[in-house]
Symmetry: C2
Subunit: 552 residues, 2 copies
C-alpha cells in the first residue's frame, strides 16, 4: 500500500522509493513533504507497470475522516475517461467521490494502450508517408525501408507513456481534488458497496466505466502467437513484422492498417462489409469514402471486401490467414502478423452481483441520464457500446455526475462529429450529400477538387501539412465537401480529408446543429486564418452573394 | 492579346500555343472548343511568367456586347484577394464587374510571392525541425545539414506555383463567371475610367486593391545584391545563403527567420521593438510570447532587441549588417544574406489622378464601407494598412461589393483572430490574461503546462503534429491558455502554440464575440475530437462543474 497524501508518515518512504528508481525527466523533483511532482509520479507508475509481480498494493489518495467524513456520493469503478471526468464533475459540484482502478494510473486504456499510442502511430504514419513520398527531393534522403520499425515506435511510446499517466494522477490529486485508489482491483458487492484489498467502501451510487476490449472472431488459430489487437500489440509484440493481415474493417483496422503500411509492413485488410460502411461509422459521404480508400490503395494497402476469415494459419506463430472470398473461394494469404480490428465488447463479470440489463450485443443498457436498470448504478463510456470515442466517455461521466448530484441532465450521443486517421485526418459532421438530397429538394455543395476537374492537377485544398504534397503531386493534398440546403441556405454537413481541420469540426458541428442553423452567409462572415485547412469560409464567401445558390 | 472566351476564333490558336509549351500536369487536357482546363491554364501562365519579355499582351476574359451590354458596376484594379473576392461577390449579386491585373493570373502576390510560399516554407520549417530533432531515432536518419537548401525549396515552389494560379483563373471564369483582363497594366484615368492597352473601360465605381510591398529602411547598402524581401527572395535568390541577418521584427521576420534557421542557415533577428510587441500584432499574451520566443531561441535563432540597423556592409554582395545596440555600441555582424522584414507600404502612384486622402503612414483612407474620400472609389486590402491578412482583404472586397450593389454594409477589422508561424503554428483571439485582468476583477485561466509545473516533464498539450515531440522532449509539444471571466463564466481569450488548432480559432473567435458570449459551460458541452490540439473543451469540462471557477 502506498499512501500519497501523508507527508508526515509514509511520504518520506515513498519519495525514497522513487529516488531509488531514478531521476525524473527534466529533473522534476519535489521538495520534502511536498506532493509528488509529475516527474516523480511517472517514475512510480513506470516502476509498477514494469514490475507487475511487485506486491506494492494499492495507491491510496483517500481523504481521512478528519478531512471529509461524508458518505461517497459515487464510487467510480474504472478511472478512465468516463470515470475521471465524471468524478471531476461530481467533485466540482461539491460531492464526494472515489475512483477505483486496477491500473496504477488514471486515464484508463487510452493513454496506456489505445488512443494515445494510436495518435502517435498516426503521426508516424503521416511522417513516414511524407518521407517516402518526398525521398530524393529537397532535404529528404532516400527512404530506408529497413529503418521504419514498428517495434521501435512502440518502444518509444512505452518509454514515454508514464509521463501522460503521471499528469493525470497529478492533475486529479493536486488540481481536481479527487479521491482515488489505484493499482487495486474493485470487487462489486452490491449496488452501493465495492471492496478493495479487503476493505469495503459504500456510496450512494456506483458509476461503472471499465471500458471494452477487442472481440476476437471465433476461428481456429486466433489465440496463437502472432495475432494481436491494439492492446496486445503494445504489450506483447516481440518481433518485427514484415507483412500484415488485418481481420476486420473497423476504424481501428483502417487506422492501424495505414500505420503498418506506412512503416513498410505490407498490409492487407480483410473485411466483410465495405470499409467505412459499418454501422459504427455513420454519415460517411460516398465521395469522401472514395477519396480515403483511393489514397489508402495509392499507398499500397490491399483491401479485400466481402471476405470471411476462416482460420489463422499457424507455424510456430501466425503464418497466414485463410478466408473465403465474396465469390466463395477459399484463399490462403501468407503473413507473419495478424491484427484483429473487428470491434470491441465489455467484460461484465465484475458486475454479476448487480443483475443489470444487458443488450443483445453485450453492452450495458442505460437511459439518457446514464442510469442502468438498477437505479443507483450508472454506466458510462465504451461499456455502453458505440461510439467508443473520448468525447462520449467523458460526457457520459459528466452526465452521470450531474444526475447523481441532483440535476436532471440528459445526454444523447446519437449525433456527433466523427473522424478517423489514415495517413490523413478524415473528419466529418452532419449530413452526407446523399442524405441531404434525400431530405431536401435543393442541395448544393462546395467541394474541392470540384466534380469534373482532374484531381492530379488540382492543387487544392492545401494548407499546412499538405503543402509539400500540393507542390509535388496535387491529388495527395486532400479533399473536402460542404453540403448546403440552397433554400434555407443552411449548412447541413461538412466532410474533410487532409490535416489540421479536425479541431475546427468540433465547433462546426456545434454551429450547424444550432436550432437557428448556420448558413453559408454566417460562414462567409467569419475571419479565416490563411491557409485554413478546410477552406470553408472563403468558399462560402465566394458563393454567398448569390440569391440562388449553386455548386462551387 | 489572348481571348480565352472565343472557341470559334482565337481559341484553337490558343490551345495550339499551349500544346507547344508542353503537357499539362496529370495530362489535364481539354477537348477542342472546351474552356481551358486548370492544367492548360497552368502551362499558359508559366510560359508568360518565365518569358516576361514576350509580347503576349493582355489575357482577355471579357463579355462581348451581345453577352452583356450593361455598364460595369465596378472595375477592380488588382485581382488579388480583395479584388477577386469583391468581384465574385458583386457578380453573385447580379452586378457586372471587370478585374484588371498586371499579372497573368488572379490571386495577386499571395500565391506568387507571399502567403502561399510562406506557408510552404513554414511547413518545411516544421518538417526540418522534426527531422533534425528526431535524427538518429526511429526511422529518422542523421540530419544532413548540407541538403536543406533554401534555393531548392524556392525552386520547388516556383515549379509548382502556376497550378494554384491556374485554379484561380479557371474558377473565376468557369465557376464564378467573372470578367477579367490579366497580364496588362491598368492606367487610372479618373474615378470612373481605367485604360488598358489603349482602350478605356468605364464603370460606376472603382475598387482599388493593388496591395503593398516591403518598405526598405533608408540605410546605406540596402539596394545591393544579397538584400532580399519576401518577394525578391522568390524571384532573385541565386546562391545558397549560409547565414542570415533579418532587419525588422514583423511577422514576416519571425516566420521567414524560423524557416531560414530550420534549413540550417544561422539566423539573427535585429529588431528595434521587442518581438511580438509591435503595433501590428495585438492581443499577444505575455506567456505565449515567452514560449514562442524561447522555442525560437531553443532552435538556435539569435534575437537582438533594441537594435538600430545602420548599414548593410557590402563586398560584391551583402557581407554584413552594422547596427547600434540598445546600449549605443556599434556592432558589425557578418552574413551573406540580409532579409528585410520591416513592414509594408502601398505604391499609390497609379492613383494620382484620383486625389485620394492618404494617411500619415502612406495608406489610403477609407470608411467602414471601404469608400475612399472620392465617393465612387473604394479601396480594399493591404492598401489600407494593417492587418495585412487574407481574411481582411477578402472581406474588404466583399464589403465594397455589397455597398456598390446598394446594400449598406459596414466592416470593422479592428478585432480578429490572429496567427503566425515559427516552426509552430501560433494562434490567438480575444483578450490576453493581462488585458482581461485589467477589465475584470475575477479572471481565471486553463493553461498547459500549468504555472509551477516543469515544462520539460509535462507532455501536454500534445496532439497530431506534436506527439513525437511529446514522447521525446515534452517541452517542445506546445502551450496554451484559455482566459475566463470567473463571474460571467465567459471565455475572454484563447492562445495556442502547437499544430492543428489554427482552423478552430476561426470559429472560437466567432463564438467568444457573440453578444451572448461563450462560457466555459458552453465549451464543456461540445464533442471534442481526440486528440484535439487545443484541449479547450475537455479542460473546460473538468472545471465547469465548479460554481466558483478556479485555475486549471
Amino acid at each position: 500500500m502506498i499512501d500519497v497524501r501523508n507527508p508526515e508518515d509514509g511520504f518520506a518512504a515513498l519519495r525514497a522509493r522513487i529516488d531509488a528508481i531514478g531521476t525524473p525527466v527534466g529533473g522534476d523533483r519535489g521538495a520534502p513533504g511536498a506532493p509528488l511532482t509529475v516527474g516523480e509520479w511517472a517514475l512510480l507508475i513506470e516502476d509498477i507497470v514494469e514490475n507487475p509481480d511487485d506486491s506494492t498494493g494499492g495507491i491510496y489518495n483517500v481523504a481521512t475522516a478528519a478531512e471529509d467524513d461524508r458518505e461517497y456520493d459515487a464510487i467510480f469503478v474504472g478511472g478512465g475517461a468516463s470515470g475521471r471526468f465524471g468524478a471531476a464533475y461530481l467533485r466540482a459540484r461539491g460531492g464526494r467521490q472515489l475512483i477505483i482502478d486496477a491500473w496504477p494510473f488514471l486515464g484508463g486504456s487510452c493513454p496506456h494502450q489505445a488512443c494515445v499510442p494510436h495518435h502517435l502511430f498516426s503521426e508516424c504514419a503521416r511522417e513516414l508517408d511524407l518521407a517516402r513520398h518526398m525521398q530524393g527531393r529537397l532535404w529528404f534522403p532516400a527512404f530506408d525501408e529497413s529503418k521504419a520499425s514498428i517495434l521501435e515506435i512502440i518502444d518509444l511510446f512505452k518509454q514515454g507513456r508514464s509521463l501522460p499517466h503521471a499528469v493525470m494522477n497529478w492533475q486529479s490529486k493536486e488540481q481536481l481534488d479527487l479521491e482515488y485508489i489505484l493499482n487495486a482491483r474493485a470487487r462489486v458487492i452490491d449496488e452501493h458497496t465495492v471492496e478493495v484489498e479487503g476493505r469495503q467502501y459504500r456510496a450512494n451510487n456506483l458509476v461503472l466505466g471499465t471500458g471494452a476490449s477487442t472481440l476476437y472472431p471465433d476461428i481456429p488459430g486466433i489465440g496463437q502467437p502472432g495475432v494481436f489487437d491494439y492492446a496486445s500489440l503494445i504489450e506483447d509484440l516481440d518481433y518485427e513484422p514484415t507483412s500484415c493481415v488485418i481481420i476486420g474493417g473497423s476504424k481501428v483496422a483502417l487506422e492501424y492498417g495505414s500505420f503498418f503500411q506506412a512503416t513498410g509492413c505490407t498490409t492487407t485488410i480483410l473485411t466483410r462489409s465495405p470499409l467505412m460502411r459499418t454501422a459504427s461509422m455513420h454519415h460517411i459521404d460516398e465521395d469522401m469514402r472514395a477519396y480515403v480508400i483511393d489514397m489508402m490503395v495509392d499507398r499500397g494497402i490491399t483491401i479485400i471486401e466481402g471476405a470471411e476469415p476462416l482460420e489463422v494459419l499457424v507455424d510456430g506463430r501466425a503464418a497466414g490467414v485463410r478466408y473465403r472470398t465474396a465469390a466463395g473461394e477459399t484463399v490462403d494469404l501468407a503473413t507473419d502478423f495478424v491484427f484483429v480490428g473487428t470491434g470491441e465488447r465489455p467484460d461484465l463479470k465484475l458486475y454479476d452481483a448487480l443483475g443489470l440489463d444487458i443488450d443483445e450485443r453485450g453492452f450495458i443498457r442505460a437511459d439518457s441520464t446514464m442510469r442502468t436498470s438498477t437505479p443507483s448504478v450508472y454506466a458510462t463510456g465504451d461499456i455502453l457500446g458505440s461510439p467508443m470515442e473520448m468525447f462520449k466517455a467523458r460526457k457520459c461521466g459528466m452526465t452521470a455526475a450531474r444526475n447523481i448530484m441532483g440535476e436532471r441532465y440528459e445526454y444523447d450521443y446519437s449525433e456527433y462529429p466523427d473522424f478517423l486517421h489514415t495517413t490523413y485526418e478524415v473528419t466529418w459532421c452532419g449530413l452526407t450529400e446523399a442524405e441531404a438530397r434525400h431530405r431536401y429538394p435543393n442541395v448544393i455543395k462546395l467541394q474541392m477538387p470540384p466534380d469534373g476537374s482532374d484531381p492530379e492537377s488540382f492543387p487544392l485544398p492545401a494548407a499546412e501539412g499538405s503543402m509539400l504534397y500540393a507542390f509535388t503531386r496535387p491529388i495527395l493534398s486532400g479533399w473536402f465537401k460542404l453540403v448546403i440546403d440552397a433554400d434555407s441556405r443552411r449548412i447541413l454537413g461538412a466532410h474533410h480529408v487532409g490535416f489540421g481541420a479536425k479541431d475546427a469540426f468540433q465547433y462546426i458541428d456545434y454551429l450547424i446543429r444550432r436550432p437557428e442553423g448556420w448558413t453559408i452567409d454566417d460562414m462567409a462572415e467569419l475571419s479565416e486564418l490563411f491557409l485554413n485547412p478546410e477552406h470553408f469560409i472563403q468558399l462560402s464567401r465566394l458563393r454567398a452573394g448569390k440569391q440562388q445558390l449553386v455548386n462551387l
